[in-house]
């Protein structure tokens, strides 16, 4: 198989990852972002599994002869990446679940799930918080008190 096609899989996985990444960055909608994050991770899975393929290989499951002994009919594809990706898939669905839970809460409290609108609200909150906590510069503050004191 020629070199170009030889790493075709790797290119596709990059493509998938990048589609996902683009979605994460470019889409203001949080649900979209969560889904895109999923795509992004699937790209990596594809990379790992492609890594496991071996020419003329078959699934890494041994044939069991009647008496229970096992017969090798290799070459087998590499089981190690499969195992790792099983874990990774579980992780990605867990992350998705938590993300969705957060999004529902956000909808509940903010009333929207569009990133830009959320940013605007948060900025407003932050500014309010800042002014609430602001002291007039320690020095002047005392002066104000003194003046108040004098007028009283």
């Amino acid at each position: 198989m020629t070199g170009a096609l030889g790493i075709y899989n790797y290119w596709i996985y990059v493509l998938l990852m990048m589609i996902g990444l683009y979605g994460v960055i470019a889409k203001p909608n949080l649900i979209k972002q969560a889904i895109a994050l999923g795509l992004f991770q699937t790209g990596i899975f594809l990379y790992y599994i492609s890594m496991a393929v071996i020419d003329g290989g078959t699934a890494p499951v041994w044939t069991t002869i009647l008496d229970g002994a096992q017969k090798y009919e290799g070459p087998y594809d590499n089981p190690l990446p499969h195992v790792l990706i099983l874990t990774a898939i579980v992780v990605s669905v867990s992350v998705l679940a938590v993300a969705l839970a957060l999004i529902i809460n956000i909808k509940r409290t903010y009333g929207t799930i569009e990133y830009d609108e959320l940013e605007a609200m948060d900025q407003a909150d932050k500014r309010a918080d800042y002014q609430r906590g602001q002291v007039v510069d320690a020095a002047d503050d005392v002066e104000h008190r003194l003046e108040g004191h004098h007028h009283a």
Binding site: L30, A88, V98, A99, D125, K126, Y130, Q134, V135
Partner: protein, 506 residues
């Protein structure tokens, strides 16, 4: 059945499985103080184990302890490997989590709905479990799995601040997205390395990489290096990639902020140590690759920028959050020097900053507990009303500044020494010193407000925070002072860790 069982040989795995099992059992602890008491018990036990482990490591002839899970040879199974470095980090993380758990009870009671304390503490203990797991393992993929455990738990913990302030939700989600991208980059980097080396064991990987002909021009390795660097940078909030941190630490529940600031990012930095020094090797990372320049530039920029930002904050927690990013800059700048004193400085600062900043966040939390807010206006005149809390805060602040006889000074000493020893790295020394001036600036705003201004409104009526908050706070602050006056222990450990990282005798 128990006769064949000994604790000591199994310490490395006990450190992780105790909080795992304990954390799951927490949900069965019902309502009231049960979950908290159980969590305290578990974290305390883990702390005890880490102490034993540290003794074992110091006693070990080879300088490290190796534990093969499932009794499979380390090249095929998963290996736990503990040397001076991660024994020290384990001790720090476990110790701080224990004290923080002690502290958590009151503030959690106030900030988290009563009916889900058992779940909250379960997640809390699992977070500790994940962090410890990352620190103890010697297997590249195991790092990723535990990284995800700690991340998931941390997202949830941060989001629990939602009842105090809704921004906790957006903060948590932003961290979730950025964190997942970062973790995926790490996963990808591990995949590239696995493709090249065919193994997942860190030592094994290092040997295979060392054996690669012309590794400097091996494109796969280079890209793996770059992506691991970016992914780790996100996890440890290295300066340009720190956007998630300030908001998260500001709006998380107070106890959670204390826990995270002291442990989470520290473990991220530990991972950087493992990948850069143990897997790639100092020669590749810092001599063949420009990691030194990249990291130290990012770190120095971080120290300055976040320092200035911190001075402009009015909310104490936000101020502390920004200062945390700056302090992480110190740590990174330290190991970017890649010489003994620099690395030792960053190792010791991991510990010092953990205790100082943990204590300060606890103080901020205590103010939150009494006043429901912690900003410059609220703390006016608190020096008289809450003397212990404010004293703790100021003592911690002096530590951040690096006044002599505080822990911060020790770190600064090592870092500057390392910077002067490294060729052409003196600007780092300058930045470290200027950074401590910025720390003076933001600490002193608090001092002036708390000690030289009159309280107003409710601030005039508050009383000192409950003992269950003040005592843990002072345990950490006390530690930061003690290890500032007599840092021979921490100093020697970190020197030893640095030497073994740099490939000398462990």
């Amino acid at each position: 059945m128990l006769d064949a069982f000994e604790v000591v040989p199994n310490l490395p795995v006990l450190v992780v499985t105790t909080p795992l099992i304990g954390g799951i059992l927490t949900i069965a602890m019902g309502r009231g103080k049960g979950p908290w008491a159980w969590a305290t018990l578990i974290t305390g036990l883990v702390f005890y184990f880490t102490v034993l482990l540290m003794q074992q490591v110091l006693a070990a002839k080879t300088g490290y302890i190796s534990y093969e899970l499932g009794n499979w040879p380390r090249q095929w199974g998963i290996e736990y490997r503990v040397d001076a470095l991660n024994a020290f980090i384990l001790l720090t993380v476990a110790g701080v989590s224990f004290v923080t758990t002690l502290y958590a009870q009151k503030s959690v009671e106030k900030e988290i709905p009563q009916d889900r304390h058992n779940f909250f503490y379960a997640v809390w203990v699992l977070a500790v479990c994940g962090l410890l797991g990352i620190t103890v393992t010697g297997d590249a993929f195991n790092v990723y799995v535990l990284l995800e455990i700690s991340s998931l738990t941390v997202y949830a913990l941060i989001a629990m601040g939602k009842d105090m302030n809704r921004q906790a939700l957006t903060a948590s989600l932003r961290y979730l997205i950025l964190g997942s991208v970062g973790a995926s980059f790490i996963l990808l980097g591990i995949g590239y390395l696995m493709m090249v080396t065919g193994t997942l064991n860190m030592e094994d990987m290092h040997d295979r990489l060392a054996a690669l002909p012309d590794i400097v021009h091996h494109r796969t390795v280079l890209v793996a290096f770059a992506f691991l660097l970016v992914g780790l940078g996100m996890k440890m909030a290295l300066f340009p990639l720190h956007m998630w941190l300030p908001k998260a630490y500001t709006y998380a529940p107070s106890a959670v902020s204390a826990l995270l600031s002291a442990t989470a990012t520290k473990v991220g930095i530990y991972m950087a140590f493992r990948f850069l020094f143990t897997i790639f090797g100092v020669g590749f990372s810092f001599v063949a690759m420009p990691a030194s320049v990249v990291l130290s530039v990012a770190a120095c920029a971080g120290i300055l920028v976040t320092g200035v930002t911190a001075v402009r904050q009015t909310n104490l927690k936000r101020m502390l959050a920004y200062s945390s990013v700056g302090q992480l800059g110190y740590i990174v700048a330290g190991f970017a020097l890649a010489n003994v004193h620099g690395v030792a400085g960053s190792v010791i600062h991991i510990f010092n900053h953990a205790v100082m900043k943990g204590g300060m966040f606890m103080a901020a939390g205590a103010i939150m507990y009494r006043l429901g807010r912690c900003d410059l206006r609220a703390i006016r005149g608190l020096g008289k009303r809450m003397p212990l809390t404010m004293a703790a805060f100021v003592a911690g602040g002096l530590g951040l500044v690096g006044f002599p006889l505080t822990a911060g000074f020790i770190s600064k000493w090592y870092l500057v020494q390392g910077a002067l020893e490294a060729p052409h790295m003196w600007p780092v020394a300058a930045v470290v010193l200027v950074g401590s001036l910025l720390a003076v600036a933001y600490t002193w705003r608090v001092v002036e407000a708390a000690y030289f201004q009159e309280p107003e409104g409710e601030s005039a009526l508050v009383t000192e925070a409950p003992l269950s908050m003040v005592a843990p706070m002072w345990i950490l602050i006390g530690a930061s002072v003690y290890f500032g006056v007599s840092a021979t222990f921490t100093g020697e450990i970190s020197m030893r860790a640095a030497k073994s990282l740099l490939g000398g005798a462990p």
